[in-house]
Symmetry: C2
């Protein structure tokens, strides 16, 4: 039987430990093709490269796994995987990550990891973004692996609605202390920014972003709640940003026409 | 009476004709502060600049209007406006654009214009992204101006739900041919990509993205339908990407825990 084709990408770059862990899991389940950025692309959101060319190079850092590094953003990687690498092959699944650091709550908006998964979902490929709540370069991805494998198998067996994706975050805990999976909504939160003023070598003033995560949601059905209570959070997500609830109320704007 | 403070930004860069038109409208209604990218930042999505510093320079291209150019992305512009430029001043509204080209349908995901508006909405600032369906540098923004003014006044008078924003697209038509406003949902669509292979001056192969917009939605309640029928589309949008409908069905995944 043909093994399912799994596209693996990330935003931390093709040599990040997190993608290596994800490849190790995915290759036990399917045929893996890696297309990932040649440099770290964190916080790139859904950026894509237009007007200028990008580069794609076949590389072999994963012991014979088909792999390419791309000079573009995570979203570029998914687009070029589909158009240039796969051509007539059809991916059964796209997995992105495992990100070094949380993409829970509002971080989904800024995350290159989840944006890559969303781009794949737009192409009709079921897609999961995985993140571990550990920013360090030497984060331990071992405890996450069994859980990641379970979710990959679940999606390959059960499918996913067209255009949807999952944003999965994994607490930084030994496997035995992880209580399991929680299906959640995205917690309301924001980053309280502070820019640190500095100056460059030419004496010109500049600003570097720092920030503090501000949870504005006490719900017990959120991803932040789940992670705080030793669960892996799964937020089923989508690319339709329409606020349907407010449409009826705003219909009055259509009558502004007549006042002109 | 104090005039409302209006933050104006965009993604085409501070010298684009579209932002000039938006400033001309906004300054008739409120006190305007401009913080916009110093270079074109189209398709940057919700990218932000981390780990490296950004620059902010006071400039005066708008005849005495308080204005700053920023070396970062549209999202950076909103963050630095709030933290460094405004400090204790409170913006009553953020308007982004007027973008040269459509941000209707799935383009909202890639758009720097709408991402800037979304970032402002995360900060609790009512926010509107405006786009004109004309990609050219010498697009005519005059017909759009009265409509833009009407929407700005409506939001200043009626407010907007916390964390929400509007994605407004304006057809390329003389004012008399625009039929008015339609409150819409985001049309389902995707970009069918093609990468044009080329080579750089060193003979290295590369790829430049081109694409064709594929509408996958025949609904008459979408932004694309409205624009095709000579209306200005308003999609009330939000940053919560949770697909609430699928949560009950996916709850079965929580029982995977016990199989381990």
């Amino acid at each position: 039987m043909k093994r399912p084709l799994i596209l693996v990408t990330n935003d931390d770059g093709i040599l990040a430990p997190g993608i290596k862990a994800l490849i190790e899991v995915a290759k036990t389940i399917g045929e893996v093709v890696v297309v990932a950025p040649d440099s770290p692309q964190s916080a790139k959101g859904h950026a894509l490269t237009i007007l200028e060319p990008i580069y794609l190079r076949k590389v072999d850092p994963f012991g014979g796994i088909e792999a390419y590094e791309c000079s573009g953003t995570p979203v570029d990687c998914v687009k070029i995987a589909k158009s240039i690498v796969f051509k007539d092959r059809e991916a059964a699944l796209c997995v992105s990550g495992i990100n070094h650091g949380s993409n829970a709550s509002i971080n989904i908006i800024y995350s290159g990891t989840v944006s890559a998964a969303m781009e794949a979902s737009l192409e009709g490929i079921p897609s999961i973004g995985f993140s571990l709540l550990d920013y360090s370069q030497d984060a331990d991805f071992e405890p996450a692996k069994d859980f990641v494998a379970q979710l990959i198998r679940y999606v390959l067996e059960n499918g996913m609605e067209h255009g949807h994706l999952w944003n999965v975050n994994i607490p930084k805990l030994p496997a035995a202390e992880i209580k399991g999976f929680k299906i959640c909504r995205q917690a309301e939160a924001r980053w309280a920014e502070e820019f640190v003023a500095g100056e460059d070598v030419y004496g010109q003033e500049n600003y570097t972003l720092t920030g503090e995560f501000k949870l504005e949601d006490q719900g017990e059905d959120t991803d932040i709640w789940a992670l705080d209570h030793q669960y892996i959070s799964i937020v089923p997500s989508m690319h339709d940003l329409t606020n349907y609830d407010s449409i009826p109320r705003l219909k009055e704007i259509e009558s502004l026409n007549r006042k002109m």
